[in-house]
Amino acid sequence: MADQPVSDRIGGYADAVLAVARAEGAQAEVESELARFAEALRSSDELQSTLADSVIDVERRLQITEDLLGGKALPATAALVSLVVGAGRGGELVEIIDAAIDRAAAGRNRRVARVRSAVELTGEQRSRLVEAIKASAGLDVEIQAIVDPSVVGGVVTEIGDDVIDGSVRSRLQQMRSGLG
């Protein structure tokens, strides 16, 4: 079987994930759980590499996802993650989840704003940020909050290819560039 382009393949898996979530009637919860699982993958390179390692038996990798999600997430969420890992696409799991969330938001005429911060945003801060983005860019967005200690302080917002970086990390990097 000829390999498809990566973007097409990721889009296909994302559509499948959304279809299953809708079919299970718990799309919002599945999206939320998938987003948290994607956040966990981003924070652990070892976990990403393990799920992507074809040398490790598929059963072993599926057992890892079961250990992580079993009893802690909806069965549909765990099944979707197992579906992707069992298909040998564990290395593209984060991109597939992001694509599924983006397509789900697009279905609601919104875009996804991935907001990284060193501490978790409060509900009030999320609401204000949604309003601020709508006021400045004219976009209706859904916040996907990601706690990332590497940000150190402040916030980094990604909307598609646009990045609004107000993190302490970027300022330290600017200082590093100035010193270097």
Binding site: A118, V119, L121, A137, G153, T157, V163, D165, R176, L179
Partner: protein, 244 residues
């Protein structure tokens, strides 16, 4: 002239040999002493009637005695008898004529042929000498040309060697200069790289220390303040992809 003298000398030699050869037999063929005595006796008896009459006449006896002595007198070893001279001279003339008729032309032809051969040999020798001289001249000319060409080649080779030496020297000097320049550039590059590395290292250490200090100093209030300030900035600015 020399050829005429040679020819006369040859003729005289042949004639003398013929004369001497003819004289011997003539002399050997003369009358004997006994015959001579008998003839003198007969001559005296006819002249005087008898030998007694001769003996009686003192004058006749003396003459008879001289005649007898003449019989016993030996012939001349030099002067031949007259008949021998006649026969010898005749033989000489015949032989001389024969030699003049046959021998001399043959000798002359032989001499002429010999002279012609010598002349031809001399001419050939002269020609060979001339050829040798011409060859020698050509050889000397070729030798001179070869020497000139060799000198030219040596000069050219010397010039090329000098040029090559100058080129090599110039190239070596250029290489040395280039290597010096390159070494200086490498040293400068290494120095700058070392400075950059040191600066980066110092920056990393400083930023790392700053991160630790900032991270330790950021409490919940500061985080909230930073997030609120960020939201206010986003609300107050356009989305240009480069927020602060």
């Amino acid at each position: 002239m020399a050829r005429k003298t040679l020819r006369l000398f040859a003729a005289l030699s042949v004639a003398s040999a013929v004369l001497l050869a003819a004289a011997g037999p003539a002399w050997a063929a003369g009358e004997t002493i006994g015959g001579c005595v008998i003839a003198q006796v007969h001559y005296a008896e006819e002249e005087y009637g008898s030998l007694s009459a001769v003996e009686a006449d003192e004058k006749a006896f003396k003459s008879f005695e001289e005649d007898l002595e003449g019989c016993v007198e030996a012939p001349s070893p030099i002067l031949p008898e007259l008949d021998e001279i006649i026969w010898g001279g005749l033989a000489f003339l015949i032989l001389f004529a024969f030699m003049w008729w046959k021998g001399f032309p043959a000798v002359k032809r032989a001499m002429d042929a010999r002279s012609e051969k010598i002349r031809a040999d001399l001419d050939a020798a002269d020609s060979a000498k001339a050829d040798a001289m011409r060859t020698k001249s050509e050889y000397e000319a070729q030798l001179a040309d070869a020497k000139t060409a060799a000198a030219a080649i040596i000069d050219e080779a010397r010039g090329q060697a000098d040029q090559l030496r100058q080129d090599l020297q110039a190239r070596a000097e250029a290489d040395i200069a280039e290597q010096r320049t390159r070494a200086a550039a490498d040293i400068e590059s290494s120095r700058r790289q070392a400075i950059d590395d040191l600066r980066t290292e110092v920056a990393a250490i400083a930023v790392g220390a700053a991160e630790r200090v900032v991270g330790a100093s950021l409490d919940a209030d500061v985080h909230r303040s930073l997030i609120d300030g960020y939201i206010d900035d986003v609300a107050g600015s356009g989305s240009n992809g480069d927020g602060s």
